[in-house]
Symmetry: C2
Subunit: 115 residues, 2 copies
């Protein structure tokens, strides 16, 4: 199950590098939880062909992550964002100055909306 | 010259997705500024073959950017980082509380070192 979740995440980051056909098969398999036979029927092909496509794409997605590490970098980013937001909240609890509060809220907004 | 700089930047982001050979040729051409003939001689091949490799890789790099937008996202990140650092500096100028100053310095450190 862990691998399933891992591949589904990688699909979010690198799905755009697959062909339309590959991405469709992977999305249906990982996000809509259809069986190989059901996907084969939808695509008018064999269960084995779908199995091969999924295996090939899994390998591609893992290779992209090994090279670009977008998933790993994103996980680090989430930790840093949480840490900054936590500190902003500590500062807001401690101050009364409205100008500083506004600066802190701008920082929080940038972190939440733009990072 | 702008295109040269653009491709050189894309090479930083997506060079890892090229083959070793492709990356070597592109790095020598864009970062070490050797001529096609000089690179051809180094690689024991023709000027035309090097020209074709460079054109093919330019196309690949531009396609990766169109799909993943890592360069564009990085440019946005630099602007957000600058904006947060600027606000941190305004807050530090305005406060005397050492605990808040320490929180702000932690935020600055996270932004500069980890983002």
């Amino acid at each position: 199950m862990e691998e399933r979740f891992e591949i589904s995440l990688l699909l979010d980051f690198y799905g755009c590098l697959l062909t339309d056909k590959q991405r469709d098969v992977m999305t249906i398999y990982y996000n809509e939880d259809l069986s190989l036979s059901e996907i084969a029927e939808l695509n008018n092909t064999s269960r084995q062909a779908i199995h091969d496509t999924i295996k090939k794409c899994q390998k591609l997605l893992l290779e992209y992550e090994k090279k670009l590490q977008l998933k790993e970098k994103n996980q680090s980013l989430v930790i840093i964002k949480d840490s900054i937001i936590h500190r902003c909240s500590l500062i807001k609890d401690k101050i009364n100055d409205n100008e500083i509060k506004a600066y802190i809220e701008d920082i929080e907004k940038d972190i939440i909306e733009n990072l």
